[in-house]
């Protein structure tokens, strides 16, 4: 009985340690990590979206964005141009999915639908109600971009380009990363710091 108690105690300690290390940022996504699995994310098209449904594409680009953020708004025309260029037709090799993690009223699914209609979004725009995908991506601002290669390993994470103001853009980071991934290569720049509005996550107690 005493042995069992000790075994249970040790087991509990080990589990506690493991959970603590996870909670301490051991789960932060890094270049080379697999895409976090997601499913059942409601989209503005009325359908649920999953990671698996894009498995026929060579490259998956995720953009964590939202309606309310002025920086995200500045990027909307660039998202549309990107989708036109890379994911616009059924035989495109790239899938581009925008994800909204924010919980503000302005970022509800209904408001997302309105925004997409007004702006003419030509890409899936889905809601991560649980904020789980946002956390797994370690998404901190809107907009923040992720490129996953054919093996669905992360090959680029960060900003789309080097200026929020479209007239000030000198370097685009996203397109070279996507082109490299399409060639089965690693991009010259794998990480930059995204710029935008901080995403507020529900407090975990």
């Amino acid at each position: 009985m005493k042995r069992l108690a000790i075994a249970l105690f040790v087991g509990a300690c080990v589990t506690g340690l493991a959970l603590t290390s996870l909670a301490q940022g051991g789960n932060k996504i890094a270049i080379g990590d697999p895409a976090p699995s997601f499913s059942g994310l409601p989209g503005i098209d009325g359908k649920d979206h999953s990671l698996a449904q894009y498995s026929n594409k060579d490259v998956l680009v995720l953009c964590v964005t939202c309606n309310h953020c002025p920086v995200a708004v500045q990027y909307e025309p660039r998202l549309i141009d990107f989708a036109k260029k890379f994911s616009g037709s059924p035989d495109s090799k790239v899938a581009f999915v925008a994800v909204c993690v924010n919980t503000d009223e302005a970022d509800s699914l209904e408001k997302m639908k309105e925004r997409a209609k007004e702006q003419g979004f030509n890409f899936p725009y889905v809601r991560d109600n649980s904020q789980q995908l946002g956390k797994q991506l370690n998404a901190r601002v809107t907009p923040e971009f992720y490129v996953f290669n054919k093996e669905r390993k992360l090959v680029y994470h960060g900003a789309m380009d080097d200026s929020n103001d479209p007239s000030g853009v000198k370097t685009n980071y996203l397109e070279p990363a996507v082109n490299a991934a399409l060639q089965g290569q690693a991009p010259a720049t794998a990480e930059t710091k995204a710029r935008g509005c901080g995403i507020q996550y529900k407090r975990v107690n």
Binding site: G25, C69, P70, R140, E144, I199
Partner: protein, 203 residues
């Protein structure tokens, strides 16, 4: 209504304020509206007026927003010898920053007498300086307010952060605490900042 007793108390406290201070700075995103904060703001601004208009130690300072380079700001943080400094990094485009901003104003009201120095640092683009200033005036941010001239990469690299809001505690130019949004599971709240401020003030 502010009673005569309270006013007297405030005057006494503010007269004592000159000796030891703490400086607090914070980052904000800004988009202006913050209905849930209005009662706090009103209370804080009433207190601010009471203090600033009656006390010889705190001249009635107009709310200003000056542009500054990060390097210069870091120099400026060394200039409050021995005081605790709170630096609040924010922007007019940042909703959580603006929701939190009244807490900075309140902290200033509550702890300036104990030597706390509060500084706000906007990371807005220069073209949005007016909008940021309008928000600061509305908040009665009667402390040094700066707008960083550097590109985002510069301050992101310096503090090793991506997102705002972020708050830092400094003393004698050395950072002694950082509160940020870098880990989605451990985003800071103003209660965290307040606790650290209180702890470091009594040091």
């Amino acid at each position: 209504m502010i009673s005569a007793k309270l006013l007297t108390g405030l005057l006494l406290l503010s007269a004592l304020a000159g000796s030891a201070s703490v400086v607090v700075t914070r980052y904000y995103h800004g988009d202006g509206t913050c209905p849930s904060c209005c009662s706090n703001v009103t209370r804080a601004s009433l207190l601010a007026r009471a203090v600033s208009s009656e006390s010889p130690a705190e001249a009635p300072a107009p709310v200003e927003l000056k542009t500054i380079k990060l390097a210069k700001l870091l120099e400026e943080l060394k200039g409050h010898s021995g005081k605790l400094v709170v630096v609040d990094l924010w922007a007019d485009f940042c909703v959580p920053c603006k929701k939190g901003f009244p807490h900075l104003v309140e902290m200033h009201q509550r702890h300036a007498k104990d030597g706390l120095v509060c500084i706000s640092v906007s990371v807005d683009e220069l073209k949005n300086q007016e909008a940021a200033l309008k928000f600061l005036k509305k908040q009665q941010a009667a402390f040094p307010n700066y707008l960083l001239e550097d590109r985002a990469e510069v301050w992101q690299e310096h503090w090793n952060i991506v997102a705002i809001p972020a708050v830092f505690l400094y003393r004698d130019g050395a950072k002694i605490a950082q509160f940020d949004y870098e880990d989605p599971d451990k985003q800071f709240t103003y209660d965290d900042v307040e606790q650290a401020v209180v702890k470091n003030l009594v040091k």
